[in-house]
Point group: C2
């Protein structure tokens, strides 16, 4: 039942992108390095976020990744769903309609009571993720910075020239 | 992010066991057949429920499976967790502590704000599953029976002699 590790990567990567100055871009390779993640698999995850319109990718020498929409308009659910191949936690295969004692399919109009509870639980999970925007994450990350990280990041960005377009 | 298919099996199997008369047992093979599931993999799932104390297994000619505790005391969360190898949806690998700009680990006492939201969502999912007991499922299944299934089940049980101990 575990979410893909790319969900953790994607959430951190989007948070980092949301903290860039307006117009700035950072290559996927540098963003992977910043998070201590191997670039190849990370780039594939970023491509999923690009495909979903959450992240924008620009080609060329001054190209790189940037947010594809305002952080206020990106929920954590959107990021998770863009990165996960399976869109639901519980898949109902209608077991109740199988086996030697099942009735004709026309008798199964009401949803299975097991699927009903599983979906209700899943809806609560989604609700929390849908209610939290990337902007809120950015706000809490800005309000409670880890000592020294912002300074180290500025130095690293300057040294590597990773950020473009500013 | 998908739950194992054994979760669907286990929930339906526990519901069926919870509907058996007191003292009745049914072999895992017959319970699999009743649900239209191949017995071998199904039996392994049932063993996990036995290991968790949710289902009781009796050996011998008149042996079989029965509930290991009252349906009122079994939540859907217990069944799901007994069947899932991974106990959490979101695994935080502390990405924030990795990479070239991370601070010393002593500076990361507060939980990561990303993990915090992911765990809050997961707690809501768990809450719904923890609040729903197998007894409630049994009640709704009994209150809204699918036409003909109970009769077909009684006939099938009588013909196959699947239920023992009554």
């Amino acid at each position: 039942m575990q979410l893909s590790e790319t969900v953790e990567w994607g959430l951190h990567a989007c948070l980092a992108l949301a903290m860039l100055p307006d117009g700035a871009r950072i290559p996927a390779r540098a963003l992977a390095e910043y998070h201590g993640i191997k670039p190849s698999y990370f780039s594939k995850a970023m491509q999923k976020l690009v495909a979903a319109g959450i992240v924008q990718s620009t080609e060329g020498r001054s190209g790189g990744l940037a947010m594809g929409k305002p952080a206020e308009d990106v929920s954590l659910l959107q990021i998770v769903m863009a990165l996960e191949d399976h869109q639901v936690l519980f898949r109902c295969t209608e077991i109740r309609q199988k086996g030697p004692c099942a009735a004709a399919s026309r008798h199964y109009r009401a949803p299975c009571n097991i699927a009903r509870v599983m979906r209700k639980a899943e809806a609560e999970w989604r609700r929390v993720l849908a209610e939290t925007s990337l902007a809120e994450l950015r706000q809490s990350a800005t309000a409670e910075p880890v000592p020294g990280v912002n300074e180290a990041t500025q130095t690293w960005l300057a040294e590597t020239g990773a950020v473009r377009g500013t």
